[in-house]
């Protein structure tokens, strides 16, 4: 364990902190701007997010893919009596999630900048409230970055909860019709889950304290403690369930997903765009490595849940009347794939699952941005109120088609890589007898179902007769198209050259598998290759 990259530490001691806190500095700058100065506020926010993106670029350039362990580690004691530290670090897995967060934040802020002045209740901040909106958005960026960087359980919890606060206000203030209900449901569901994570974390730290007479919440040390047999399997199971509850709610994993379509259905588009898969990341960073034995015990259950989630959410998506809700259920369905890859507990599955997490950000981000721009024009996303858009908005339709094909995992797009690897990993696990093949087969049908709901929606929205009131829809402006293009480029980049991204993952993934899979598992996995 350990193995910090000392060279990188010396070179750039505080890069992670700068990356983490730059958006917050942006918030303070925004507060200095007088209310109502929309253009200025947008400029400051764009500058802040671009700076953050630049800093993540520094991370990428200086990241050393050849070593395992965490890099750019920073450690400042926070509550030393209880072994709580401000401990940041990233490895190959979190690196790309951090970068993606930065990219999507830039796009979300630009999206807000481009937004036309619309009446209240249309999910878009009015000029007067743009500043407040951007403040929350930047705070959310900091919180998400913190989730991906924190290596101390308490610090992680703090950031995990901190994501709730700006999101709550973004939904409650700028959400749709049922925003109050949606915001509250969102908050309570996720708060409920994460409190049990906190209890489990405290319990774990306390067991560690009883054994070693030292209090710590540091991920690496607790991991080692559990790996050395410090926690009996019975207790491990409970602790794993505590963590899993929080992450499954956040993910969202069926049957804990009911808040997701409600909350995100009402949420403004930029929130949906940058609300990344913190739940999945938390599973792979904390849930499984901390309690490998329990993870193995629960793997069959997890795989079953994930497969059911894939199919159930896909069928539900088919039935939706609203384009946004179709996309939201597609997210739930894809979350199922991510979990299948994770619960395979082998290298293929893990890499697939991480790629799928990135895909989620890229593809879904593009999809929701496009939906938002469509909403600016049509003021509705209800499928049966739309039709024949292809003739009206050719550029929009082309971009939407590309994103949609990535979503249904067409070979050549990122979706294919992610889902293929997830399913392959799951098959390997099934092959070695750890999970039932049935669930893997069931999950695989999800790829077909996604084609059903997506293409059907596409057909109804883009072909057929155009309703009277949509006769003269303007196509995307160049600026709007340019907003989505980077994501479309990423779709094909990951799809055609996945190695560029998985390269930096490999060491971390190997190490992860070593931690998570015990001996018989690794043997089985090696045989299957």
């Amino acid at each position: 364990m350990g193995g910090y990259n000392l060279a990188a530490m010396e070179w750039a001691v505080k890069v992670l902190s700068w990356t983490l806190w730059t958006p917050l500095i942006g918030v303070f700058l925004l507060l200095l701007i007088p209310r109502g100065q929309r253009v200025l506020a947008c400029a400051v926010a764009i500058a802040a997010t671009l700076t953050t993106l630049g800093l993540t670029g520094v991370l990428v350039v200086n990241f050393d893919p050849s070593t395992t362990g965490y890099q750019f580690v920073e450690r400042v004691p926070w509550l030393p009596d209880y072994g709580i530290a401000y401990l940041l670090g990233i490895d190959g897995i979190s690196l790309w999630l951090v970068v993606l967060t930065a990219v999507l934040s830039v796009l979300a802020v630009v999206y807000v900048t481009l937004a036309p002045a619309l009446p209240i209740g249309s999910n878009t901040p009015s000029p007067e409230h743009t500043r407040a909106f951007l403040c929350h958005l930047l705070l959310l960026e900091t919180a998400l970055m913190g989730v991906f960087m924190a290596l101390d359980l308490v610090l992680f919890y703090v950031f995990f909860e901190l994501t709730l606060v700006p999101t709550y206000f973004l939904i409650a203030l700028w959400g749709g019709e049922r925003r109050g209900y949606a915001a509250l449901k969102f908050f309570l569901y996720t708060f409920f889950g994460s409190l049990f994570m906190l209890l489990a974390a405290l319990w774990l730290a306390f067991i560690h304290y009883r054994a070693t007479n030292e209090m710590t919440f540091e991920l690496m040390r607790l991991q080692q403690f559990v790996a050395e047999g410090g926690v009996p399997l019975d207790v491990q199971k409970w602790l794993f369930l505590g963590f899993a509850l929080a992450f499954a709610v956040k993910l969202p994993l069926v049957p804990f997903h009911t808040w997701w379509p409600v909350a995100m259905g009402e949420a403004p588009i930029p929130v949906v765009v940058i609300f990344l898969k913190t739940g999945a990341y938390a599973f792979l960073r904390f849930g499984m490595p901390l309690f490998p034995e329990a993870a193995q015990v629960f793997a069959p259950l997890g795989m079953a849940l994930a497969a059911v989630a894939v199919v159930y959410a896909a069928i539900t998506a088919t039935m939706q009347f609203d384009m946004k809700r179709v996309a939201l259920y597609a997210v739930v369905s894809h979350a199922g794939f991510i979990m299948m890859g994770l619960f395979a507990l082998n290298q293929t599955g893990l890499v697939g699952s991480v790629v799928q997490q990135l895909n989620h950000g890229v593809t879904m981000g593009a999809m929701f941005l496009l939906l938002g721009m469509l909403h600016w024009r049509t003021r509705t996303l209800e499928i049966n109120q739309l039709g024949g858009l292809k003739a009206q908005m050719p550029l929009f339709s082309a971009l939407f088609l590309m994103v949609m094909l990535a979503l249904v995992a067409l070979p050549g797009t990122n979706g294919f890589i992610g889902e293929f690897l997830c399913l392959l990993g799951a098959y390997q696990a099934a092959h070695s007898g750890q999970v039932a093949t049935l669930w893997v087969v069931l999950g695989a049908t999800g790829t077909i179902l996604s084609v059903v709901y997506m293409l059907w929606m596409f057909q109804r929205v883009f072909y057929g007769p155009t309703p009277e009131r949509l006769r003269s829809l303007p196509d995307l402006t160049p600026a709007e198209a340019a907003l989505v293009l980077p994501l479309v480029a990423l779709i094909f980049w990951i799809g055609l050259r996945p190695a560029h991204f998985t390269h930096s993952l490999e060491q971390s993934a190997t190490q992860w598998v070593q931690q998570v899979a015990s001996e018989p598992w690794r043997v089985a996995h090696d045989n299957s290759e």
Binding site: L162, L173, A183, L195, L202, F206
Partner: protein
């Protein structure tokens, strides 16, 4: 005749309380010579007195004194909690004038009463001698009864004052009876004798029974003051009926004082842990459940906060039941944070005075448009009450969780978690109603008075500051508890 023992006196130990009493007397006299309704000088003198007392109190940090014939003491717990009391009183003093003026209740008595109450609360914490504790309790309570009925033209306020007085007198009687029984058993009214006499006493003997009865009665009395279920019945009516500034004061100060005494008493009664632990366990559980669940259905923000204060008392009781270093540190930390949170929250509600003092959740709708800063402050305060990081409320809960797990109170920890979610529900509902129509066309702005801005800023900076850097308070609390546990006392007396 018997030789009279003249106690050797260490003045510094009582100096903070005496300063507050002095300020109260000064304000009392000053009010007579001021033109009617001119209260700014009273406020200033009061604040000066509290500040001076705070300075003297800080100077006592680290000292462990028992003096005045062992009736007064000063240890770090007393310093910490007294400072919390002084700060809460100061904040209430700051914003009270505006409220009283808006409600047309410019009674100059408000200021001396508040200061006397503060002195009483400080006295309660600064002694292990139960008679002195009782004296402080009565000074605090009597002042609070009057403050509750200050809006004497209003039936609700009168009703609240009467209810509070009757039930409070009843509770005081319980407490006093407990003290009497302790005296009967041991011939001393110092709570530190409980431990030794319990160890010495035999089961089934009279002393033994008297001690049990005494502790039970004292728990009832203090449970009432701390608003622990099932002794919480008065809380919603009194909190709602009292003028909001008085509510702010009593919610913060009497909770701190009552829990300060409970903490001392129960640690003194450590050998009887097996006896009182199940009782406190049940009280904690009941308080958390009743407080939070009933708060969920309240329509009035003051009633809601009243029930939520029962819930918070339950959380604190979890810390007392667990009875270990971590949990007691948590109790101290939580008390300080809670004082700031409640004073701030009721302070914001007191702004409603100019809208007919309606405090229903519906009446608060759209406050964000009228007073953006107050609404923002309320949102942060609510998040802190709900225990969301990075606010002080989070660390308080964190300590209580860890303490409960350490003390083997897993069930209480789980209930604490579940009821926190319930708590978050109503805190957020209140927050949402502040912001419900925030984006409509801006309504006429109400200016937030400058003292209120100062007060809210202090609360916010304190809560977020403690959320980001909990270390100073956490470590001071821990030191305080450790010193109490080690029993490091430096007795300054005549012999």
């Amino acid at each position: 005749m018997e030789a009279l023992n003249i106690p050797q006196v260490e003045w510094s130990a009582l100096l903070p309380v005496l300063t507050v009493v002095g300020a109260a007397l000064l304000v009392l006299i000053l009010e007579l010579f001021l033109p009617r309704g001119q209260h700014t000088p009273l406020m200033l003198v009061g604040l000066l007195g509290l500040g001076l007392a705070g300075y003297f109190q800080l100077a006592l940090w680290g000292a462990s004194l028992v003096t005045w014939a062992e009736t007064a003491l000063s240890d770090n717990i007393a310093v910490l909690l007294n400072l919390a009391i002084l700060v809460s009183s100061g904040l209430v003093l700051l914003f009270a004038d505006d409220y009283l003026r808006a409600r047309n209740m410019r009674y100059g008595e408000f200021y001396p009463l508040l200061l006397f109450a503060t002195a009483g609360a400080m006295l309660m914490i600064s002694s292990t001698n139960l008679m002195v504790v009782f004296l402080g309790l009565e000074v605090l309570s009597l002042s609070l009864y009057v403050l509750t009925g200050l809006a004497r033209a209003e039936v609700r306020s009168e009703e609240a004052a009467l209810k509070y007085f009757l039930l409070g007198a009843f509770a005081s009687a319980f407490f006093l009876y407990g003290i009497a029984l302790l005296y009967g058993a041991q011939g001393s009214v110092d709570m530190r004798v409980i431990s030794a006499s319990w160890v010495a006493s035999m089961p089934g003997k009279m002393t033994n029974a008297l001690l049990v009865a005494s502790l039970a009665l004292m728990l009832v009395g203090l449970g009432f003051k701390a608003a622990l279920a099932p002794f919480h019945m008065w809380t919603p009516d009194v909190y709602q009926g009292a003028p909001t500034v008085a509510t702010a004061y009593m919610a913060a100060v009497s909770k701190v004082a009552a829990f300060g005494v409970l903490l001392r008493l129960l640690s003194a009664a450590m050998p009887m842990l097996d006896l009182w632990s199940p009782i406190m366990w049940a009280i904690a559980l009941l308080s958390m459940l009743v407080g939070n669940l009933v708060a969920l259905i309240q329509r009035d923000a003051k009633r809601m906060l009243a029930y939520s204060s029962v819930g918070h008392a339950g959380y604190l009781a979890v810390g007392l039941v667990s009875m270990n270093m971590t949990s007691l540190t948590g109790v101290l930390f939580y008390l300080v944070a809670y004082a700031l949170m409640t004073v701030g929250a009721f302070g914001v509600l007191s702004l409603m005075a100019r809208a007919g003092d309606a405090t229903t959740v519906d009446a608060l709708r759209g406050l964000a448009r009228r007073q953006p800063f107050a609404a923002f402050a309320m949102a942060i305060l609510m998040l802190s009450l709900a225990g969301i990081p990075p606010t002080a409320g989070f660390w308080g809960k964190w300590y209580l969780f860890l303490g409960a797990l350490e003390g083997g109170q897993t069930l209480l920890a789980i209930v604490l978690a579940l009821t926190s979610v319930v708590g978050a529900a109503y805190y957020l509902r209140l927050t949402f109603s502040l912001y419900a129509d925030a984006l409509e066309a801006p309504a006429a702005r109400w200016s937030v008075p400058a003292p209120m801005v100062v007060c809210l800023l202090i609360c916010l900076i304190g809560l977020i500051g403690l959320g980001i850097a909990p270390r100073p308070l956490a470590e001071s609390s821990r030191q305080a508890v450790e010193r109490m546990a080690n029993g490091e006392w430096q007795v300054v007396s005549g012999e």
